[in-house]
Amino acid sequence: MGESRHVSSMKVVLPGDLIMELPVKPVDTSENVFLGPGLRWKDGVVRATRPGILKKDSRNLYFIESHQKRYIPQKREFVVGTVIKNKGNSYLVDIGSHEPATISFLAFENASKKTRKDLRLGDLIYGQLLVANKDMEPELVCIDFYNRAVGMGTLPDGGLLFKVPLHVARSLVNPSNPFLLELGARLSFSIVVGFNGRVWVKAKNMADMTSVMHAVSLLECMSTEEALIKMHSVIDSVLSQCAVD
């Protein structure tokens, strides 16, 4: 997704820490500083609102990388959600945020008033957040600007859904993530990772899916490097387990 930019971590900050002085709030693009999540401008200064690692990317986008379990919707992020309610012309999808997201029955590839997309409760959806601001309930779509489903839509049955902390999810979506590459080399599976920490895996059998789940869960408590080492032993144990029963 998008061209990749280098990101440099600066330091660990706590809520209330002063990051920088900024006379006016950076709203219009002419300002060459962008504030990402975890930072707030208030009368002349920028302060951290979350504990975590202050980071800054090549476009001068400052943000705080923090460990969270609860998802706060961000515009354009890709998420995995569960259909929980049918509201006639739209559906409610639980994406782990405090309000369920809505998705119109038209927001699917070649869906129209006649050929309307019918979802069942409990269906899994991989979509992108079209609307995400604090004043409204988030809105999902499964089509891009040109009404194409670029991999988005309902996820097929027979997969396995599990949750990981948000920072793990973020690291996983990175296409060049060494961990996933390694894992892919070991097992064959298809994986869908939502920024909301919901991970969906599908493989030829349950054993593989479980082992993938366990392997990924390693990242919760250790860095990628450590996980890479530990991964194989975990997978082996899981597979042997499944072989037994």
Binding site: V131, D135, M136, E139
Partner: protein
Amino acid sequence: MTKLNCFLVLINLLQLISFNIFLQNFHIKLIVMSANASPPIPSSNKNICVPGDRLCLAGNQCHAAEGTYIFNGYIYASRVGRVSTFQKNEQTFVKVTGLSGHSVIPEVGSLVTARVLTIHSQMIKVAILAVDDVTLHTAFRGMVRKVNVREHLVDKVEMYECFRPDDIILARILSLGDARSYEMSTSLPELGVVTARCEEGHLMVPVSWTSMKCHCRTENRKVAKVVPPNT
């Protein structure tokens, strides 16, 4: 509340001696009453009435107006206040003017001032703060449907491009709605957002029918054709 009454009650609660003297004469009067003599109403207060007072015969020569009700062919007062008559197209009406004209509630057709609370894709929820020119002590819930936001391009309406939370809007009551909220409309030029503030709390001023700006940004609104009350 009126000074004197407040004073009375205050000291009555405290039962000060000074008050008891006043109370004594008051009681003497009462005891006379209980020996059956209804108190004479001071002539100066002739035109003051209380609920249930019969004002006049209902009919062509006199019609019931605000603060009255008709029962068995007579007009009675329904509130405490001063009785007065007024002429409207060659007809006499009798009305009772209360002390505080504000036990009002929103009615169909009344113009209301409301604060925007939440925004949904199909409608917004608001709190009604004032009805016509009377400010309410407790707010009533109301809602504006997407179709009632403006007259033109109704199906193009984007709620978030018309209202933001904490905006102050002018609207008209369409119907009593459901048990929860009144149904309202802003689909007239003079209806819509009258006061809005940006995130930093700067007051925004209209720059067009569809947008307002403060010195830090410009945002879209369904702007009403009036000046905000506090500028």
